[in-house]
Amino acid sequence: MTAKAALASLVEWLPALVVAAVVIGLWQGLIVAFHVQQFLLPKPTSIASTFWSDRHELWPAGWYTMKEALGGFAIGSGLGILAATFVSRFKTLGTALMPIFIAANAVPIIAFAPIADAWFNPFSPHSKMAIAAVLCFLPVMVNTLRGLQSARPRQIELMRSYAASELMIWRRVRIPTALPFVFTALKIASVLAMIGAIVGEYFGGATTALGVLINSDSQIFQFTKAWAGIVVASLLGMALYLAVATAERAIVRWSPQLRGS
C-alpha cells in the first residue's frame, strides 16, 4: 500500500474512529458524573485494565470458543452450500424441501441450544459446533440458492448456442453469478457462528470456554471481567467477519459493487 492509499483509508475510517472515541468518552464521563454502580455498567477504563490483567485467562478461553465457532461455521456453511447445490440441480427435491427450510427458518434455533447440549456431550466442543452449524446453515443455504437461480436466462441461452454442457454452464455462469450471494451469506454466518458458540456455552460447557467464563463471572458479580470477556468475543467475531470480507474482496474482485463504481 502506498503512503497515499494508507492516508486515504485512514480518512475513510476516521469518522467511525471519532464516533467510537466519543461514545467511549461519554460512557466513561457519565459513569463518573452520575456515580453509576459498578455492577450496572463498569467504566471503560476498568474494563480495559481487566482486559489486560486477565489476558492469560481471557484469550485462551476466547480461542477455545473461536475454534468451536470456526468448526460450526465450516460445517454449517458447507452443508448450506451443498444443500443449495442439490436443491437447484434437482427441481423436484427443491419443491419438496424449500417450504420446510423456510418454515424451519422461523424457528428460533437458539432455543435448541440446551437440546444440542443433551444430544452431544455438553462439555465437548462438538455440542457448540452443532449449535453454531445449525445457525449458519439456513442463511447460507437460502442465499446460495438464490444466487444459483439468479443466472440470466440469456446467458444460459448463449452458452447453449455454444453447445455447452450442463457442467460448463455451472462452471462459467451459475457459480460466478452465485458467488456474491454466497459471500453475503458467509458474512452473516460468521457473526452467527460466534453467537451460537457462546450461547451454547451458557447452558454449560468446559470451564476454559469464553461463554462459560462470562456466565459464571456475572453470577459472582465480577461484571468487569464479564465485560472484558464480551470485548474478547466481539474482537474475535470481528476478526472472523473481516477474514470472510477479505476473502470476498480477493475472489469477487470483478464485482461493480465492491469496486464502488
Binding site: R154, R160, A163, A164, R172, S261
Partner: protein, 267 residues
Amino acid sequence: MSEQSVVRVGRVTKTFPRGDVTALQDIDLELAPREFVSLIGPSGCGKSTLLRVIGDLIEPTHGSVTINGKSARQARNDGDYGIVFQDSVLFDWRTVAKNIALPLEMLGWERQRRRQRVAEMLDLVELTAFAEHHPWQLSGGMQQRVSIARALAFEPALLLMDEPFGALDEMTRERLNLELLAIWEKTGSTVAFVTHSISEAVFLSGRVVVMSPRPGRIAGAVDVDLPYPRTVETREAPRFFELVTQVRELLRQRGEHLLPEEEAVLE
C-alpha cells in the same frame, strides 16, 4: 439459387402449449451465402422465435431447419453460428478480452491461439484499449461491439442477431450499423438480423423479410437494390426512401387484414 443455402427453413410451425399460441406458421426461408437478411415485423410476430429455431435454441413443432446442409442441432454442436442478443449478455466477472475468448474456450482452442484471435477481434471492433476492462465499465454501444466481436471470434458462417441495437440511442445505432456492414464485408458471414426499425432493415440488408403476427408468418419480402458498400449518403438517397415506404406499406397491409380475432376464428 445455384449455391447451396446457408440456412434453409422448410414449413416451420411452432406452437407453444401454454396458452395454445401459434408463434410461427408454415415459415419458408432461405439464406444464400454472404446474404444479409433482415426479419421485420410488429412485436409478437415471432421473428425472435424464428431466429431461435434457426439456432436450435427452440425446437420447431413441425418442419425442418438445415444449416450448411446439416440439421440445426448438428450445426449448433459444430459451432456454425454466432448469436448476438438485444442486451449484450456479457459476463461481469470476465474482462472484455475474456468475454470475447469465451466461445473459443468452449471450442477448446489453445491459449496462444485464443489470445491471438482475441487481439484481432479487439482490433476489428476498435476496443483494443479496453481489453482488460470489465463490461460494466463500458458504454452500451461499446458493450454491444464486444458482443459482436464475441459472436464473430470463431468465424461462424452464420451470424444471428436479435435486435442487437434496439436498446441504443439513434446516433449510436446508426454508427454501429455502418461498423456492422464494414465487419460483414470483411468476414463474409451470412447474417439473419431481427429488428423492428424499418430504416435499419433497409439500410443493412440485401433483402427485408416482413412478418405478420398471430400466427407469425411471412407476409412478403422486399429486395433492397441499393449498392454496397453503403454509406451515410445511402440514408439520404431517394431509392432508400422508396424502399422504406415499400416495407412500411407491406407491414401496414398485413397489419390491417390480419386482426387477431379473425385469426382465432380461422383456427
